[in-house]
């Protein structure tokens, strides 16, 4: 329980046990620590990027229990007991996920800053809807911004990966 209030908040630690890319971690975090900082600075997983910092651009997207979140605006304590997938955990035994492969083959990135978020969001899209129309894809991906404006190639890459995944070349990783 809290002690008597004072003007400056006193330090508080919260036990954070969670799994990142299949590996279990036990950390102590303060309430104000953001998930993105914990993942990048304490776990050294730098695929997720800080960009807009206001949940608009999607560069910091992580999958938390399979659902997309903006790690830039989510306190780390919200990950208690949960499983996180970052872009570093998507390849299996050195084999790229079909989405990663398709982004390479179809030129789905330019500077690459938005790519981890694009691919994780697209993974969820294809897990839920293996055969999306372009309109469905654009609605789903509306919150992921490519500042290089390379959208055409990104859409092509995702649709190509969807086709490949439907043909059973490799099932999506959960």
């Amino acid at each position: 329980m809290a002690t008597a209030s004072s003007k400056a908040a006193e330090r508080q630690t919260i036990a954070l046990s969670f799994t990142v890319n299949g590996r279990a971690y036990d950390l102590d975090v303060e309430p104000h620590e953001l998930l993105l900082d914990v993942i990048r600075d304490r776990l050294a997983l730098t695929g997720a990027k800080r960009s807009c910092d206001v949940q608009v651009c999607g560069a910091c997207t992580l999958l938390l229990d399979g659902r997309p979140v903006s790690a830039c605006t989510l306190p780390a304590f919200e990950a208690r007991g949960k499983k996180i997938l970052t872009i570093e955990g998507l390849a299996e035994n050195g084999t790229l996920h079909p989405l990663q492969q398709a982004f390479i083959e179809h030129g789905g990135f330019q500077c690459g800053f938005c790519t981890p978020g694009m691919i994780l969001t697209a993974k969820l899209l294809l897990d839920e809807n293996p055969d999306p129309t372009e309109k469905e894809l654009k609605h789903f991906m509306h919150g992921n911004i490519c500042r290089c404006t390379g959208y055409k190639k990104i859409v092509e890459s995702i649709l190509a990966a969807a086709k490949k995944m439907r043909s059973g070349a490799r099932s999506g990783k959960n």
């Binding site: 209030s5 309430p31 949940q55 997309p68 605006t73």
Partner: protein, 288 residues
């Protein structure tokens, strides 16, 4: 960067209300945090404590209750888009929710938080205004019902008292002899204008408009129902109302209390209100 704060995690409404009394202005309720944490990161507001109310059980349920649709305040936008009850009874609300912000905000943000933060450029309040929703506010000593018309006071200001929590949104189930639509337009991340239109027909024959409700959001400091624009449509046939809808839309624009801001000038927003009223009316009639 967030400044340091302490976290409280009550598991009952009473305990949360107690904490609000105990810490007053130094504390704020926290649910999804999609609005609150942004302004805290910017340093625009500062709280010594956040009271995380997500440990309180059963506050995210969506169900039919005695003929009304009951939505728990902690239901996330996404939970509303996949709710079988809402898909069946209120598809216009599902559609509105499916277009709130983006997929990550919908995942984390709650409808209760959206309403309580009262950011002017938001969608849900406007639609709730034409649905005659009631908001349930609870505190330690009991609860009360606030008509949604009386909930929004101003930008970022609601009629909740300092020790109250919004726990539930109750919506009368719309009758089958009516139609409903919510449309929005904007060129930034948030909408410049949102318009909700609901029409009810008499006798199920769809010949006469027994009731029309129009609400406008985002344009001004708070969403508001524009009864001035509803009056001309009442008692009219669809054909007559279709001829009058430009006029009604114009009235709605002038009554919307639009202000000039980043999302457009007053004049621009008033014009968009007029266009959206017409389109939403056409959609509502088609959906009836």
């Amino acid at each position: 960067m967030l400044r340091r704060f302490r976290l409280e995690e009550p598991d009952t409404i009473q305990a949360a209300s107690d904490l609000l009394v105990r810490f007053g202005d130094a504390a704020r309720l926290y649910a999804g945090g999609t609005e609150l944490l942004l302004v805290m990161k910017e340093g625009l507001v500062r709280y010594e404590r956040l009271i995380n109310i997500k440990q309180i059980p059963n506050l995210n349920q969506v169900k039919l209750d005695n003929g009304a649709i009951s939505i728990g305040a902690l239901a996330t936008h996404r939970e509303l888009t996949v709710s079988p009850v809402l898909r069946e009874s209120l598809p216009a609300l599902v559609q509105m929710e499916n277009n709130v912000a983006n997929i990550r905000v919908r995942e984390v943000g709650t409808i209760g938080g959206n309403l309580c933060f009262a950011e002017p450029h938001a969608d849900p309040g406007t639609l709730l205004l034409v649905l005659g929703a009631k908001l349930i506010a609870a505190k330690k000593t009991g609860q009360r019902e606030i008509a949604v018309e009386n909930f929004f006071r101003d930008a970022y200001e609601t009629s909740l008292e300092s020790d109250e929590l919004l726990t539930e949104i109750r919506i009368p189930r719309p009758s089958a002899a009516g139609g409903l639509a919510y449309l929005k337009f904007g060129y930034l991340e948030r909408p410049s204008v949102g318009v909700a239109v609901r029409v009810e027909f008499n006798g199920g024959e769809k010949k006469w408009i027994a009731e029309a409700r129009i609400a406008v959001g985002c344009a001004g400091p708070a969403p508001r129902r524009v009864e001035e624009a509803e009056a001309p449509l009442k008692g009219k046939s669809i054909q007559e109302a279709t001829h009058l809808i430009d006029e009604a839309g114009g009235i709605a624009g002038r009554a919307s209390q639009a202000i000039s801001d980043l999302h457009g000038s007053q004049e621009y927003k008033e014009h968009i209100v007029q266009v959206l009223v017409k389109r939403a009316f056409q959609q509502a009639v088609q959906k009836s």
